[in-house]
């Protein structure tokens, strides 16, 4: 698109709301400069999570970052959280302004 835009990765993580306190510090530790979080509901292998109370709510976290950080985030999720928690992650290429920020 416009020459002002640069390519970065968008890592989206969907997981149980209870994980928030464990996960957010981990993001910074892997080199993410920020995140955006929305409350979510959903369904997956572990059944319906209807948001009726915290124990059955999900959160959806987005991190804009470079390729290196994205790889580290995915690996961290895989080694630390995949076994015990309902975590879904997907990565997509996006174009951003001010690439130095991410």
């Amino acid at each position: 698109m416009s020459p002002a835009l640069t390519c970065r990765k968008l890592v989206t993580i969907i997981c149980e709301a209870e994980l928030e306190t464990l996960l957010l510090p981990e993001l910074a530790r892997q080199g993410a400069h920020g995140y955006t979080l929305t409350e979510a509901r959903g369904q997956g292998a572990r059944g319906v999570r209807d948001g009726a109370w915290r124990a059955s709510s999900n959160i959806r976290i987005e991190v804009l970052c470079g390729v290196g950080v994205a790889e580290r985030l995915v690996e961290m999720l895989q080694t630390r959280f995949y076994a015990d928690y309902g975590v879904v992650v997907f990565v997509v290429d996006v174009e951003v302004l001010r690439p130095g920020k991410f």
Binding site: V48, W53, R54
Partner: protein, 314 residues
């Protein structure tokens, strides 16, 4: 052995959930109501506490907490030894049953009030004290022989968790401000309490309905456990109360505390500290079986038992 009218609201919620009604109470209303109930219970206890000498409670508190630690230990033995549950699951369920349910306590208080049976406001102090120890025991049981316990994280999770902060904060404010200082707030924190409890129970019914599916996976042993454990723990509470010379009302409350299983502090703490345990089992049992059982049959049963045994024990 009739139950409290507020329990009808729980049944309405349960029914709505089972019928797949579009009645959905937004998650934030659940949050707001639980904050209200915890704070109000704390305040009430604190106001009552201001009328007593706090130091007199230290002895009974030690006994009450000491005996309570037996509950998760016994639960763990049964689940792991008898039924062969995996270590983590047995420990997590044990922690839920060793800890306490604030709403069950509130329904029991309200049950006593409508029968004009006196109970002491300082029982709330035991409510606050009983929350933590069973969680520590649960984590200890889950981790025995393995080094990696995040005790600091766990202690922070529970002690700075909303139920302790609100209960203890309410106790402290009530105690500092005293009956006169709190009086202008009575309209909200005391007069509205029972109506809010009814509303919250309706929500709990909806939430519990969502856990019924988990029960099928849990199997009949866990369902039987979820009825048997509270009865035994309730009995233990009545006996302990008798030995401590508690009034009948206080005995019913202590039995209810012992018999109730946590579903606010425990699920959050276990998810962090024992992540390999399956939360569907512990929450399915505590919220899907034990909570309704206590509301409908347990509290009237502990009431009846407490009156029977009072003469014998004291």
């Amino acid at each position: 052995m009739s139950f409290e009218p507020v329990v009808l609201f729980f049944m309405l919620g349960l029914l709505a959930g089972v019928l797949r009604s579009d009645l959905k109470i937004p998650g934030v209303v659940y949050e707001a109501l639980s904050i209200f109930l915890l704070l109000a219970i704390g305040l009430k206890g604190g106001v009552e506490l201001a009328r007593h000498d706090v130091l007199d409670l230290a002895g009974p508190a030690l006994v009450v907490v000491g005996v309570a630690v037996l509950i998760p230990l016994a639960c763990f033995s049964v689940l792991r030894g008898l039924a062969g549950f995996p270590r983590a699951d047995a420990a997590s369920i044990a922690a839920h049953y060793g800890s306490v349910s604030v709403v069950t306590f509130a329904v029991a208080s309200s049950f006593l009030a409508s029968r004009a049976v006196a109970a002491d406001g300082y029982m709330t102090v035991f409510l606050a004290l009983l929350e933590l120890p069973a969680l520590l025991v649960g984590v200890f049981l889950a981790r025995r022989g393995q080094g990696q316990v995040g005790w600091r994280t766990l202690l922070h999770e529970v002690l700075a968790g909303k139920s302790i902060v609100l209960l203890a904060g309410g106790l402290l404010i009530g105690w500092l401000a005293g009956p006169d200082g709190i009086h202008p707030l009575d309209r909200v924190f005391f007069d509205l309490f029972k109506g809010m409890l009814a509303f919250f129970l309706m929500e709990m019914g909806l939430v519990a309905a969502g856990r019924l599916a988990d029960l099928r996976r849990a199997g009949p042993f866990l369902v039987a456990f979820a009825v048997g454990a509270p009865v035994c723990a309730g009995l233990l509470g009545i006996v302990t109360a008798g030995l401590l010379g508690f009034s009948v009302g206080n005995a019913v409350l202590l039995a209810t505390l012992y018999a109730s299983a946590s579903y606010i502090a425990a699920p959050a703490a276990m998810r962090i500290a024992v992540p390999e345990a399956n939360p569907a089992l512990s929450i399915g049992a505590s919220l899907g079986v034990t909570f309704p059982f206590n509301l409908i049959a347990g509290i009237p049963l502990y009431y009846w038992l407490a009156f029977r045994l009072h003469g014998v024990l004291v």
